[in-house]
Symmetry: C2
Subunit: 306 residues, 2 copies
């Protein structure tokens, strides 16, 4: 089961961190920044080199990496190739791969997405990832294919329930007349149902959720409503989320939630307080130091595994 | 403006049809079916050959093609390469390309998706398409990047408002307490606002919507609520949508809506009433005949351009 593998990774690394691999070449260290005239293939190569350096520097400090598909898709098929190679490399270094692609569609098409990202290891064409983020707008019938593929193939999904952006409230916080609940709680109720159906005798099901750390009250409510779902918590650092707000989302063993940091780790070399202590060439070392600092903060705040 | 280009394509072809390119190799004609051991690259080649044959057979009868991203993503980067090459070929044959990828994310990431699919022609890395389907679950802040890119770069978007699948009602039909309106009408109100801001002196804005033909009452309500948005109408044929229900969605000039047919056209050779009249090798001719029949039905039902 995916959740058992995630548990094991967190316990082995003593870390619930997920490093977001959102490559933005305009923020790359000068040694890797592609020329303005670079081809998509050249840019894709620079992205892969950047990612491998980050992976090497954080592999023992993080449970998983989370590549954000958009940042690869913007370089077409060459970018997607870099994404595949990044995922293969991350897994070879003992990291789980959570692909943040927020897919969702009608049933016939959702099945094709599930085959693309959540299929058995014997499907040589499937993308090499362990879990996928999915979007609930189209309703339960398409999502069933993702749930089923995850449960059958040792994969996981994280359904968007309450996202980390300021505009999330536009739709997710609307109150449903019949139930007096916000939309995000309606979606959470679907997850509760799927979790019960898929978790067997495990504590956590393969059906997790995305709950923005920027809305700690909602994230903590979701923790209570969904005791058997992993929470993927984005929004730490640049977006304003705080470690103290994440703590109530973990269980007493330090499991049940994962904390995402992206820009604050991968571009640490260009940010305070690291930019004067590391040169641009030392971007990987700066990322490692930023990761260790987050883990130290977790420990100081009472996270049980540190 | 994208809508003007879509108007021109419909008027030139006298057709509001969009052919869905959803390649499923298990349904391919035997002459193109890849072996069980085929590599992703071999499958991608078969997909491209299939698509080129379909494009050649319908180019003068359809305004656009709509590749469904999932069916390409399931073959990894090789599949994405086939998608890019399909789009380039379709455009070279005078068809607009509407990429059905249903993207949506937080603002920073939505911007990367907009760059991937809706950027200027001068961005050599952007995917060669004319419009993109997008998902509203994350709210307006991410969507603003898609709206802006579409308006600035002569591209279009089609926002999911009421999708064609049976499960669509799970979320989209929930009634919002404060306004007594269903969710799909809340999303439609965002579109009304963006349409006014982006259409200039044009009749139709670059901000269109997806409205499933399988829910004709909702589609026709959306037609009235959004007089300046193009409606992308999926669900004809296999999903149960009917031509008679599409007719009220067009304006008096036959513009303002496009009608999607996918499986009923591209796999016509294996379906009634074509399967006894065309051999598997004649799949492209069967697709042409199926397309002509839909256009004849449109004409017989009173569609003004036929």
């Amino acid at each position: 089961m995916f959740a058992s593998r995630l548990n094991e990774a967190i316990l082995a690394k003593k870390s619930p961190l997920v490093v977001g691999l959102d490559p933005d070449i305009t923020k790359f260290p000068s040694c890797l920044k592609p020329a303005a005239t670079a081809s998509a293939a050249e840019i894709a190569n620079a992205i892969l080199t950047f990612n491998k350096n980050i992976i090497d520097s954080v592999a023992d400090l993080a449970a998983a990496v989370k590549p954000q598909a958009a940042f690869y898709e913007q370089y077409g098929w060459a970018g997607m190739k870099a994404l595949e190679e990044t995922a293969i490399y991350a897994r070879s270094q003992g990291l789980l791969v959570i692909l943040d692609a927020k897919r969702g569609d009608v049933p016939n098409t959702a099945l094709a997405y599930a085959r693309a990202y959540l299929d058995k290891d014997t499907n040589r064409h499937a993308f090499p990832c362990d879990a996928l983020t999915v979007n609930p707008f189209l309703g339960r019938d398409g999502l069933e294919h993702f749930v089923q593929a995850a449960a059958s193939n040792q994969r996981g999904i994280f359904l968007l329930v309450r996202t980390s952006n300021p505009g999330a409230a536009d739709l997710q916080n609307l109150t449903v007349k019949e139930t007096e609940r916000p939309i995000w709680q309606e979606v959470a109720a679907w997850v509760a149902d799927w979790s019960e159906k898929t978790r067997g005798s495990e504590e956590y099901s393969p059906v997790g959720i995305v709950a923005g750390l920027t809305y700690p009250h909602e994230a903590q409510t979701l923790r209570r409503l969904l005791p058997h779902s992993y929470l993927l918590l984005p929004g730490l650092g640049v977006q304003g989320g705080r470690i103290a707000d994440a703590l109530p989302c973990f269980d007493k063993n330090g499991l049940g939630a994962v904390l995402v940091a992206a820009r604050s780790i991968i571009y640490a070399f260009s940010r305070e307080p690291y930019k004067n202590r590391f040169s641009s060439d030392q971007f990987a070392a700066a990322s490692r130091k930023a990761t260790q600092n987050i883990l130290d903060n977790l420990g100081a705040s009472g996270y049980p595994l540190r």
